[in-house]
Subunit: 350 residues, 2 copies
Amino acid sequence: MMKRQYPTLAEVAKVAGVSLMTASRAINNRPGVSPEKREDILRIADEMGYVVNRAAQKLSGARTRIIAVVAELHTPFTSDLVLGMGAVARAADYEMLVYSLPVCDRRPPGSILDLLHQIADGVIVILPYESDYLESVVSAHIPVVTIEQGAVSAFPSVTADNYQGAISALQHLIELGHRRIAFISGNDRLTSARDRRRAYRDILAQARLPYDPDLEVAGDFSRKSGFEAANKLLALPDRPTAIFAANDISAYGAIAAIREAGLSVPGDISVVGFDDIPIASQLHPQLTTVRQPLQQMARASVNLLLALVAGLDAPSEQIVLPTQLIVRESTTPLKARKRKDEAVKVGVGR
Amino acid sequence: MMKRQYPTLAEVAKVAGVSLMTASRAINNRPGVSPEKREDILRIADEMGYVVNRAAQKLSGARTRIIAVVAELHTPFTSDLVLGMGAVARAADYEMLVYSLPVCDRRPPGSILDLLHQIADGVIVILPYESDYLESVVSAHIPVVTIEQGAVSAFPSVTADNYQGAISALQHLIELGHRRIAFISGNDRLTSARDRRRAYRDILAQARLPYDPDLEVAGDFSRKSGFEAANKLLALPDRPTAIFAANDISAYGAIAAIREAGLSVPGDISVVGFDDIPIASQLHPQLTTVRQPLQQMARASVNLLLALVAGLDAPSEQIVLPTQLIVRESTTPLKARKRKDEAVKVGVGR
DNA sequence: CAGCGGAACGTTAGCGCTAACGTTCCATCG
DNA sequence: CGATGGAACGTTAGCGCTAACGTTCCGCTG
């Protein structure tokens, strides 16, 4: 086990007939080696199948050109984000390692963060919780960028404008004439969820619509919670004509419930989601939703991190990227108000 | 940047008033330290916020209790698998690091595999391609387990029984009376896709059904390809009464196409998928599909790897796990054959 | 041609850790 | 009571690499 099989730099240097340090310089493309010798060394290293030992490299204080990402990987949103980051990192000639957090586990991820610190030049944390522990664990050894960390965060962060995004979705519904607008919330551990909820309450006040606690149902971003929340809403004596769900997945859960109740989307109830996950444009009905600027978030976070790694100080920068309302099939203007009650009794299909 | 902030073992030892090595033994729970002193050292280490430097640990030849996973993370199937592995690894007091392969990039992932070797005690590769490069890159430094690697693989592997799974799906359709059964293939780079295709051809022969090349349409596991493939099938003069799609995603693509054509599933055409992704039981219609034993695959692969890490030699073991046919709503017995032509003209809705 | 500077290399000293081997000390035994 | 052996500890030598210096040598200047 563990028989060394890769050659070491020293062996390469020996074969090439140069000193260890010259070989190191050649491999790392640093000055101080004549062009011929450099080429020679590189050729020999290649022939011998030499690869640098990153552990040793990092141990002796150098850059490894690796960044680490810590995330819960169970949603399309996060995994797409991670994919995007990988692409950006690779484009910058960095490699990216992912630590997949145990889903919904509040305990600190233990030594793994430390480990990543020891390996990587920087860390991106997609940890949307108000995690008190994060700051204690992640001390200032290497740069850290957070995604969706609340304003509390001591780290530079990149986030989508959840508040404005939710506002635009709700504004859309109001412009369509809806007055009884329900909200299916997300997991309130997440700042993003809280921002969307805040937008809901604010816009009601702003549009001088009454706030009805019955119309604000707790969810957790899951399809199931959307389904159940919608059922609660449908059971109300005066049910809403529009639903804003805190994310696309729960929006589709709500749609399923609405349909099972014999109602149609958007005929009877308009539904808006949040995220614009890929299938939102493919499933029927195509979902009106708020698009998160995934690619830009990936790009911005990686670039910010690399800037920090390079030693440029972007002092605790908070980047907020704009969202975009994507209007598709699941929303429609409110029909003449009177028809609503009729619809309840007749149970209008699609 | 990089100011050392974690204390080193030496510093802990100094504070504890013992030698470096005694501290190491205490921390690593090795014999040779008196119980009191051990407790003392552990307490002090904890107070000082000591964490081992894995890079150094690995460099000096020890275990790191980390396993690495290399995978394309863009499908629910792989990301769920990775999630499962993480849980199993954690249960065994191992940490897991993920390297997300660039999607559909055939080039070798370069130095990252070597890197993982240098950090991890073992690697699991979810690389369903017949990748010639894999074997050259991954040499025998640390144990490697592959998922879905073809039989060609030189490594121990864990895989679902794609062939039997496909057989059971097709058998199901045949038992329902279907005779014109189409196949939407997957990406043939993947051994799993090839196995499913092989099953398709075999079962036709076995059931003495004619093989019609028109009924075997190329796909690539994507929703779009399923959609387009179904359209091709619907355009045939004598269209199939059942479709077996190589995975769930493309099955849903096919269903969308069938519906757009004004036909119903399973009323006009039965559809079977493969994988049993979570939403297969939630979307309408609930999909009849072949369940891959995800949890078992995760468990088996991690356990196999850890066994190898522990030095037990499981000589090039190939574990094949059984699949399970899940019959839901998307398949139904073939109606009286004669009705088929009628249906074409009338365009039976649901 | 002495003097100097800079490119091209080599040497040394660690980074933090562990394996392997020393050393100390004390209980046990013939 | 000296020999013995084993537990408890300490010391040393690296793992593979790089930063920070040395050293060499050559071309150039005045």
